[in-house]
C-alpha cells in the first residue's frame, strides 16, 4: 500500500459492529422499529459466512418449546444458574429465554430446516433445550435477513477502535477501522453502536500444533474483539475469569451433544469404566451442593475427565459403536459433524475410524473466552425494564456502562447458554433498545474529535511502516531484532497464557504467583506490540486481532487473580484457593480499564436471585 489510505466517512444512526448472530439479530430488529433510521452493519469478513456459525450448526441449543409446554423461562434460568455454579444474571437469562422461541419460529419461516418428531409434529428434541436442524446454511439464511434490514453492509472492514463523544464523557460516537482489501480508512459516525463481535479463541495455546493450530474449537476468526473493543472504551466487564474448556472428540473437536443426549452414547476411561459418579461424590467436599445440580454442571464433568486423564486412565472414549444400530442413527451421527465440524469427519476418514465399529477419543480443549456458550464473560449491561432489579437497570436493555454502546452475543456478560438462537435474540433486544435510545436523543448528536481520529489513523497503519523499515534491514526471512510478526506475538501470548493462567499444559491450574508472573510477561508483550510489523493488509488485520486478544488476555488474568476461590473446577483451578467459597465469592467480578492511565480497577457486584 504505497499511497496514503483514503478516508471514508460513514454517517448513520445505528452502527452494528460484527455480522454474526448477535449483529444480524440487531440489524433485523433495529430496522423493524426504526424504519426511517440509517442502519449500517460492518463485518471484517463476508456476512454470508462470518462469525461462529459460518460453517453451520447441527442443533439449536436454546429453545424453550413454550407452545407445547415443554419448558418455561424460569426452568432455563435454573438450568443456566446450576451450570454456572450459581453465578448468572437471572434477568438477562430470563429475558432471552422468554423471547427465543419467537426467534426460532422466524428462522423456520425463513427456510431453516428444523427436524420434526414424526409422531408428535413437534421439533425433535436432542436434549431438554436442544432441537435438531439441517443447519449447513443456517448462517447464509440469517445473513439474508440481515442484509435486507440495513442501509449498507461494509464487508471486509476490520473495526479496530470505538470512538468516544467529544462533547460528553463516557458516551459513544462511532468506530474506526480499515478495509482489508484496499486499505481505506473508515470512520463511522453513529448515534448508537451495537457490538456483536466475537469471543476469544487463540487466547490460550491450542492443543493442535503447526498447521493444525487453526483447528481450535471456537473459530480462529473469533478474535476476542467483543472485549478488545469494549475494554479500551471504558466499559465495565464482568466474569472475565469464567473461561470455558470443552470436552469434545479429540483433535477434530466435533460436537458431543447429539451423541450423549440423543443417541444415548456414553464415555468411559480406557478400561471401560464409567468414571463420572465417583469423582462427583468427591467434588462435594470442594463445591458443596453444586455437585448435586441436575444436569451435572459442564465444568464438573470436565473435572471428572481430567482426574481420569491425570491418573493415566486415558484415552477417554465415547462409545459410538454401541448406539449406531440403524442407518438413521448413523446419518444423525455423521450430519452432526458435517453440518458444523467437518474436520471431525476428516479425522475419522484419515484414521480409519468408523463410528459404527470403533469408539472415538474425547479430550478437554484449550480454554476460550466467551459470553454466549456455557460461560458468561462480557460487558456489564442494563437489564430489561420489567424484570431487572434496580441496580441491574439504567435505562436501555443491553446497554453497557458506556452511554449509547450496546452489545449482544459474546459481548454481554452474565448470561450463559445463549448459543446461536439466544445470541440472535439478544441482538434483537439490543436493536430495539438502541432505536429507543436514538429516539430519546432528540437531535442531540454525538460528535467525534478530529484529533482523536487522526491519532487512531496513525496508530492503525503503523505496523505496515514498522515492517517496511525493519524488513529492509535484514536479508530475508522472519527474524528481525526490530519487529515481531503478528503470528510471533500470538504464539508468545498463547504460551504465557497456557503456562501461567491455567491452560491445558498445567491441567488448567494457576495461582497468585503464577498469575503475577504472567502479568509481568503480558506487560512486556504489550510493550512489544508497539513494534508489531505487518507486511500487508491481511497481516495488519492479524495485528489488530492480536491487540484485541492481548487486552482480553490481560483482563482474564486480572479477573482470575481477583477471584480467590476455585468456582468452576474443570474450567480452571486456583491451587492457592482450591475450594468454592460462597461466603466470600457469590458475586460477579467486575473490572474497568482506564485507557488514559493504563490502570485497572477490580471490584465485585451482587448476584441477585429472584427465580426460585
Amino acid at each position: 500500500m504505497a499511497r496514503r489510505p483514503e478516508t471514508r466517512f460513514v454517517d448513520c444512526d445505528i452502527l452494528v459492529v460484527g455480522g454474526g448472530f448477535g449483529g444480524c439479530g440487531a440489524a433485523y430488529e433495529a430496522r423493524y422499529w426504526g424504519r426511517d433510521l440509517n442502519i449500517v452493519l460492518v463485518e471484517k469478513a463476508n456476512v454470508e459466512r462470518s462469525g461462529a456459525v459460518a460453517q453451520g450448526l447441527s442443533a439449536i441449543n436454546c429453545y424453550m418449546g413454550m407452545q407445547w409446554g415443554e419448558n418455561q423461562p424460569e426452568d432455563f434460568v435454573r438450568y443456566a444458574r446450576g451450570d454456572l455454579l450459581g453465578l448468572v444474571r437471572e434477568d438477562l437469562v430470563y429475558d432471552i429465554a422468554r423471547h427465543v422461541d419467537a426467534t426460532v419460529h422466524k428462522f423456520e419461516e425463513w427456510g431453516l430446516p428444523i427436524i420434526k418428531d414424526e409422531k408428535t409434529g413437534r421439533y425433535l428434541r436432542e436434549g431438554k433445550w436442544q432441537i435438531l436442524i439441517h443447519g449447513e446454511s443456517y448462517k447464509p439464511i440469517v445473513a439474508e435477513a440481515a442484509r435486507k434490514s440495513v442501509d449498507a453492509v461494509h464487508n471486509r472492514v476490520m473495526v479496530t477502535h470505538l470512538l468516544q463523544d467529544s462533547k460528553r464523557p463516557n458516551r459513544i460516537a462511532g468506530a474506526v477501522g480499515f478495509n482489508v482489501r484496499d486499505g481505506g480508512f473508515h470512520v463511522f459516525r453513529a448515534k448508537a453502536v451495537i457490538v456483536g463481535a466475537g469471543g476469544g479463541s487463540h487466547i490460550y495455546r491450542p492443543r493442535a500444533v503447526g498447521e493444525g493450530m487453526g483447528r481450535t474449537w471456537y473459530a480462529p476468526w473469533s478474535t476476542a474483539s467483543a472485549y478488545g473493543l469494549l475494554i479500551p472504551a471504558g466499559a465495565k466487564m464482568i466474569q472475565m475469569e469464567n473461561k470455558i474448556v470443552l470436552a469434545r472428540f479429540k483433535d477434530g473437536y466435533g460436537p458431543v451433544g447429539a451423541w450423549f443426549l440423543l443417541l444415548k452414547s456414553y464415555a468411559t476411561n480406557a478400561y471401560g469404566e464409567k468414571y463420572e459418579a465417583a469423582h462427583l461424590e468427591k467434588l462435594k467436599a470442594r463445591v458443596g451442593k453444586y455437585a448435586e445440580s441436575t444436569p451435572v454442571p459442564t465444568c464438573l464433568r470436565n473435572h471428572a475427565m481430567l482426574e481420569e486423564m491425570k491418573a493415566g486412565r486415558g484415552p477417554i472414549y465415547m462409545h459410538t459403536q454401541e448406539v449406531l444400530d440403524s442407518p438413521e442413527k448413523e446419518m444423525i451421527g455423521w450430519e452432526d459433524f458435517l453440518d458444523m465440524t467437518i474436520s471431525q469427519a476428516v479425522v475419522w476418514a484419515s484414521q480409519n475410524i468408523d463410528p459404527k465399529e470403533t469408539p472415538s477419543e474425547l479430550i478437554t480443549s484449550e480454554p476460550y473466552v466467551m459470553g454466549s456458550h456455557a460461560t458468561c464473560s462480557g460487558a456489564w449491561a442494563s437489564g430489561p425494564e420489567d424484570i431487572a432489579p434496580g441496580d441491574y437497570q439504567w435505562g436501555y436493555n443491553r446497554m453497557t456502562t458506556v452511554e449509547g454502546l450496546f452489545g449482544a452475543g459474546d459481548t454481554i456478560g452474565g448470561s450463559a447458554h445463549k448459543f446461536s438462537s439466544g445470541s440472535f435474540t439478544e441482538g434483537r433486544l439490543a436493536g430495539k433498545a438502541a432505536v429507543r435510545y436514538v429516539r430519546d436523543l432528540r437531535g442531540e448528536t454525538p460528535a467525534i474529535d478530529e484529533g482523536q481520529v487522526n491519532t487512531l489513523r496513525e496508530t492503525i497503519y503503523r505496523p505496515l511502516e514498522t515492517w517496511r523499515v525493519g524488513r529492509n534491514e535484514i536479508v530475508a526471512g522472519t527474524v528481525s531484532p526490530n519487529y515481531i510478526t503478528p503470528l510471533q506475538g500470538l504464539q508468545r501470548l498463547e504460551k504465557l497464557m497456557d503456562e501461567y493462567v491455567g491452560g491445558y499444559s498445567t491441567f488448567y491450574v494457576t495461582s497468585e504467583p503464577l498469575l503475577k508472573r504472567g502479568l509481568e510477561l503480558l506487560t512486556l508483550l504489550k510493550e512489544d506490540m508497539a513494534h508489531v510489523g505487518a507486511e500487508d493488509l491481511h497481516q495488519l488485520q492479524r495485528a489488530w486481532e492480536l491487540h484485541h486478544r492481548i487486552l482480553t488476555a490481560e483482563s482474564v488474568t486480572r479477573h482470575t487473580l481477583f477471584r480467590e476461590e476455585t468456582r468452576w473446577p474443570g474450567y480452571y483451578y486456583r491451587a492457592d484457593h482450591p475450594d468454592l467459597d460462597d461466603a466470600q465469592w457469590h458475586v460477579f467480578t467486575v473490572s474497568r480499564y482506564d485507557a488514559a492511565s493504563g490502570e485497572w480497577q477490580l471490584d465485585t457486584l451482587p448476584v441477585h436471585h429472584f427465580v426460585p
Binding site: Q67, P113, E136, E144, E211, G212, W334, P389, G390
Partner: protein, 150 residues
C-alpha cells in the same frame, strides 16, 4: 494444507477470496489462481470448497493429526436446496450422505420493513417484532419480581 487449490481447475475467479471467513484464500500474483496463504488459520470450514464454481478446492486434513489418503468431498446445490457429501477413508471405504439446507427459495425472506409499522408506544413495551404472535403462546411471559425485591 488444510485447503488447497487444484492448479488445472482454478480459473482465478476469486469467489473463495470473497467468502473465506479467515481471509486466507488469496490470489497468487504469478499464477493468477487462489491458494491458502495461512493454513494454520484455516478452520476447515469448507466455505471456499462449497462456493468454488470450478470445484477446484479440496481439503487435506491437518498434517499434525490427520494421516494421508482421505477425502471429504462436497457439492452444495443451492437451487435444489441440498448438500451432498462423499467420504473416502484412508483404507478405501466410502460413505455418502446428503441433507437439505433450506426449505424456501433463496431471497424469499420478508424484510422487517415490509411489515406494518409498529405504533410509537409499542417501542416502550418489552415485546419484540412479531410478538406475541410469533411465540405461539398468548402473551410474553414476565416475572412478578421487579425492582422492589432489591
Amino acid at each position: 494444507m488444510p485447503t488447497y487449490t487444484d492448479m488445472t481447475r482454478c480459473d482465478g475467479c476469486g469467489e473463495c477470496v470473497d467468502i473465506c471467513p479467515s481471509d486466507i484464500m488469496h490470489i497468487d500474483p504469478v499464477y493468477r489462481r487462489s491458494y491458502n496463504v495461512e493454513p494454520n488459520f484455516c478452520w476447515e470450514c469448507y466455505s471456499c470448497v462449497k462456493y468454488c464454481p470450478q470445484h477446484a478446492i479440496d481439503v487435506r486434513g491437518y498434517a499434525d493429526f490427520a494421516p494421508l489418503g482421505h477425502k471429504v468431498r462436497v457439492r452444495r446445490d443451492v437451487d435444489k436446496g441440498v448438500i451432498a457429501w462423499k467420504i473416502r477413508y484412508r483404507d478405501g471405504r466410502e460413505k455418502a450422505f446428503s441433507f437439505p439446507i433450506r426449505t424456501t427459495a433463496w431471497g424469499s425472506i420478508r424484510p422487517p420493513a415490509d411489515y406494518a409499522p409498529p405504533g410509537r408506544h409499542e417501542l416502550d413495551s418489552p415485546l419484540l417484532a412479531h410478538e406475541p404472535e410469533a411465540l405461539n403462546i398468548a402473551a410474553l411471559p414476565s416475572l412478578s419480581t421487579p425492582n422492589e425485591k432489591v
